[in-house]
Amino acid sequence: MTDLSYDKSLHLKELIPQSEIDEIDCWIKKYPNDRKRPPIMPALKVVQENNGNYLTTEMMQAVAEYLDVPHVAVYEVATFYSMFNLDKMGRHVLSVCTNLSCSLRGADKVVEHLQNRLNIKLGETTKDGLFSIKEVECMAACGGAPMLEVDKIYHENLTEEKIDQILSEMAAKDLPTQEDK
């Protein structure tokens, strides 16, 4: 017999704490009842933050089931927006904008310099798990192009010196709390 009581919201409830569920519910309430897809983005954000800055396939599926949308609708959103990470990230994520304005102002040099300094490629994470670099789309800071974002802080009008300075500040900040070293 069809188990009509099968509760599709259970999966997500197992994965994240109740407080986060409440936050997602709060987002759901902001949209009309029959519109199920708008809360995908805020829900993913909540889940990602809860999971150390990245999403697993299982989590995306759980979000889809919780919101009662097809799995693929969630994959679409998660793969489209660069703020969602589908792999484990380093402690600090350096998001380099390579969209039009930044590219015109030398974003490729920024990328190159970062890659050389950290000895990783775009989209990779350093072995010590401290830094990841990733490419993002326009962050609405074109006026200060080229730019990059680290831990929610924008750094604009980048030069190689400026980048070096940012990196060493980050490393310094991290030293006392490095339990993995």
């Binding site: 017999m1 069809t2 188990d3 009509l4 099968y6 396939t57 889809a64 009662d68 949308v69 097809p70 799995h71 693929v72 609708a73 994959y75 679409e76 793969t79 489209f80 927006y81 660069s82 789309e137």
Partner: protein, 729 residues
Amino acid sequence: MGKVNIEIDGKQLTADVGSMIIEVADEADIYIPRFCYHKKLSVAANCRMCMVDVSSLPKAVPACATPVADGMVIQTQSDRAIDAQKSVMEFLLINHPLDCPVCDQGGECELQDLSVGYGEDVSRYVEGKRVVKDKNLGPLISTDMTRCIHCTRCVRFGQEVVGIRELGATGRGEHIEIGTYIESTMDSEVSANIIDLCPVGALTAKPSRYKARAWELRESPSIAPHDCLGSNVNIHHRRGEIIRVVPRENESINEVWLSDRDRFSYQALTEGKRLLKPKIKKNGTWQETDWQTALNFAVAEMKRIIGVSKGEEFGTIVGNNSTLEESFLIQKLIRGTGCNNIDFRTRRRDFSKDQYSGVRAGFNFPLQDLDTMDATLLIAGDIRHEQPLAALRVRKSTGFGRAMAINPFDGEYNFRLYQEIQPEPHLLAQEFACVLAAAAQKQPDKINAEIKDWIEGITFTEQHAIIVDELINGEQSCILMGVYVQEHPQAEVVNWIAEQVARLTDSKWGYMTQGCNAAGNKMAGAVPNQSEFGGRATPGKNAKQMLTEGLKGYLIHNCEPDVESLWADQALANLQNAECVIALTSYEDGRVSDYSTVMLPIAGSYETSGTYVNVEGRWQSFSAAVPAPGESRPAWKVLRVLGNLLDTSGFDYESSVQIRDELKEKQENSRDKKESRKTPPELHAASEEETKRDSLGLYMVDPMVRRANALQQTSKASTHPISISRVTT
């Protein structure tokens, strides 16, 4: 609806307010290039190929997403339009591979055609082209995702038409990909329609891949033989071999779609183990022989068994997919020999109304109206797997209307149910009776004394009342019975209730039936109690009696009772024990070769001419698309010769059309006998044992589908029926 006057390429046209330029142009036969627009899908306007020049606007606009306005002057060929179209084409070709020579779509590719019209000879781009990994979508659809132009037709089809979204567009910009993200196959029963929708060679049919080029194919119209809708198809064949089957547009039946079952079943004909010569079993081994010997042998055996037993010990089972003409001839022939045992209903348990003659179709309204029902009540219907395209129509209606179900089994619906009741199978009629009781209470002035007596003591709940309210309040509403209803031991009770509820609530009713020609088989008289069009006949044994009681001889036509009847095990034993089994069959594999004594090779579907009568009572005739292989012959010809050899009269038909015309005339002359349903059938308890559902399953319904390789490899072939209803769009 208001009208506006517009001009396209100098033609003055009137159009409905709100229609898009491209719709009006299509209507007027003015061609506008397009990739993403499709008349059955929502407007996505993402390919930009349909740019046209509207005089009042400063730049070219997409015709698929620009509504008409009064006085609009549109040019599809002006410099501005052509310029825009050319730029779009150049853009689309940046990443599209130049692999037309090895692409299955070559020759019928929209991108190829349009690039001839709008593309430049040489590309200005020197950058490397992007490559996308192919997806595994299962045994029916093959993918070359590098060719995808992201029109999203396939995505919208799943989301909008089927209601099960499996494909999506993941990634962004240059990294966008169409796929399922995590590897999973396409599991819907209508999945292969995306092959037709895909304008390029990204999605092509796996079974016919690399078999032929589009320009080598010839096209013959035909009718698909696997469900009671009778979808219209075109058979594409080359040098007498069927290469593929594609939908033929018919708005009132299949629209532009086709179920996977109807699309890929042809593989049984081309790859199945066909019986190519008549064969007789001598001392347990099969020997090939010629038609004359085989027919003489069959006739001698029939005469012997029928003669000795006065017709009692011989039985004829007709397959669900026999044509009207075949069924007519076979019953005429068998009755001519003095035997009255004939039936096609191998999946029916209730024969209580057999003594009343009558022929009528399963629907009292056009199929197309399913689209616009405000309320649809499904009774024991697994509509997605029984009539996949009817399910798409019901789904369409649920955009504004409501669907409800009383189904003893786990349903898998591609639309949301407003109400669902799940009674025990043996209490189906009892549950439905509560709906009648509720309807009677709401419409007291419409009930007669009989109904009043009948519903005496039947109580109903809030839910039954809600269902009735929906049926009454809906401007258009219908009650739709699934195939299982006719398999239920109380089929006639359920049918009677359905018609009463329909009358009380001012709804329509429709009975879905097994196979593609149930209505035709009945009209033709392939039932034990009546000959063609309800004509008188001496009552004989029905299918259940023939298959379970055991007879000395059987004639089976295009059917495997040991698989598809409700009494498969008993049928097998009885066929094995019979003295003689004459099988008219297209295939020599399966158990038919174990139990039969003589096998006569008959043409398969698409290899013979004939007529199917669909569930609405619509006669659809077709001629053979390809010749039958080997020495197999169209069954109507075999039956004609058999009739003559049996010394029965009236078997001098020259063509199947002649038989059809004779039947048509008979139909017109037969008075419209109202089926006697005056006395309400009794509502007795059915046993649990008798109401078990041995569902045949989506890809098991007839000998042809059972031998279609690709369909048999799909996950739907093994996991049916599935339990949890799942609708997420």
